[in-house]
């Protein structure tokens, strides 16, 4: 599976926010062995220069970065943030977020399509944070996106895959498009399920960073992603409504 012509070393993408310390972040990244880490941009104070220390930490990890436009609620704001991110991080990959609703952090799919078109025309490789809406997905592909990142559930909620039917339909409609579950994953089993549905990658942050042991949880997610990927490749059995004995009936003794 390639993302804009590049093969990642892992299908797990890991966010870098909300860890209790830089050391725990670095150890978690080592334990998860992600294909990319996501990063962002915020105001830099000349007194503290906190961003410089963070960038040094991330650079030392040796993992490709995927910058985001988190917190942007409008097209212009998101486009400008993407331009600034491209210069600072030295990549034309951008995880495009245009938030439309504050309580659920649901994407504004109308603004998202508009911003995606502007950015792809400008040479960006856009990873749009979207919903499982098939029409919005089609418009994003027409706008030049070659990857889709639907939510599983609202960002940070940990509720997993809220609309399995919709996500399965999205997978079926776009069999050749790399699909990444971007938000809402709370447990390793959610990540496994995403791969079992045929998704190509997952992006996780809060589930690792806010767990009791982020390093241990990062390792658990690494194994869960691998399990799901292997399970999908091995072709899962069909579900049945009725029981079917797994032990052969033929040759059973009559003892009653």
């Amino acid at each position: 599976m390639q993302f804009y012509g590049e093969t990642l070393s892992s299908r797990l993408m890991l966010g870098t926010a909300q860890y209790d310390s830089p050391a725990i972040l670095a150890d978690s990244v080592r334990a998860a062995a992600p294909g990319v880490v996501t990063v962002s941009l915020r105001r830099e104070s000349a007194n503290k220069l906190a961003g410089q220390a963070f960038w040094s930490l991330v650079s030392d990890m040796g993992v490709p970065v995927l910058p985001n436009t988190a917190g942007c609620h409008g097209v212009r704001e998101a486009v400008t943030t993407a331009q600034m991110a491209r210069e600072v991080f030295g990549t034309d990959w951008i995880k495009l977020e245009v938030i439309g609703e504050a309580d659920t952090l649901q994407p504004d799919v109308f603004g998202l399509v508009e911003a995606a078109r502007i950015l792809t025309d400008d040479g960006f490789k856009v990873f749009p944070y979207c919903t499982e809406d098939l029409v919005a997905a089609e418009r994003l592909l027409r706008a030049g996106c070659e990857v889709l990142m639907p939510w599983g559930a609202p960002i940070g909620s940990g509720k997993g895959l809220n609309n399995v039917f919709g996500l399965r339909a999205l997978r079926a409609h776009f069999p050749d498009t790399p699909l990444v579950i971007d938000a809402g994953i709370g447990r390793p089993s959610h990540a496994t399920m995403a791969f079992e549905l045929g998704y190509d990658a997952v992006l996780i942050n809060t589930a690792v960073a806010k767990s009791g042991d982020p390093v241990g949880m990062a390792h658990a997610f690494r194994l869960a992603c691998e399990a799901g990927l292997l399970a999908h490749a091995a072709d899962l059995m069909e579900e049945r409504d009725m029981a079917v004995p797994s032990t052969p009936v033929l040759g059973r003794a009559v003892l009653a």
Binding site: S40, L41, L49, E87
Partner: protein, 65 residues
């Protein structure tokens, strides 16, 4: 000259963007700049004049999800 830097009022003497960054103490830090909401690439800072009352945003790498 009065300008707003990351939403804080500041007085600066320089008027070129690259000089203003030095004056504010950013040195050669890895930052991106936007003037009045528009991105200014690093390569264009020297020829970008900042007007009195301008809004300057200076951003740097930060943790993200």
């Amino acid at each position: 000259m009065h300008i707003t830097v990351n939403d804080e009022a500041r007085d600066v003497t320089a008027d070129a963007l690259d000089a203003i960054l030095l004056e504010l103490g950013y040195g050669n830090s890895k930052v991106a700049t936007a003037l009045d909401g528009a991105f200014v690439p690093a390569a264009r800072r020297a020829q970008t004049r900042v007007a009195d009352g301008a809004r300057l945003e200076i951003l740097a790498p930060m943790q993200g999800g």
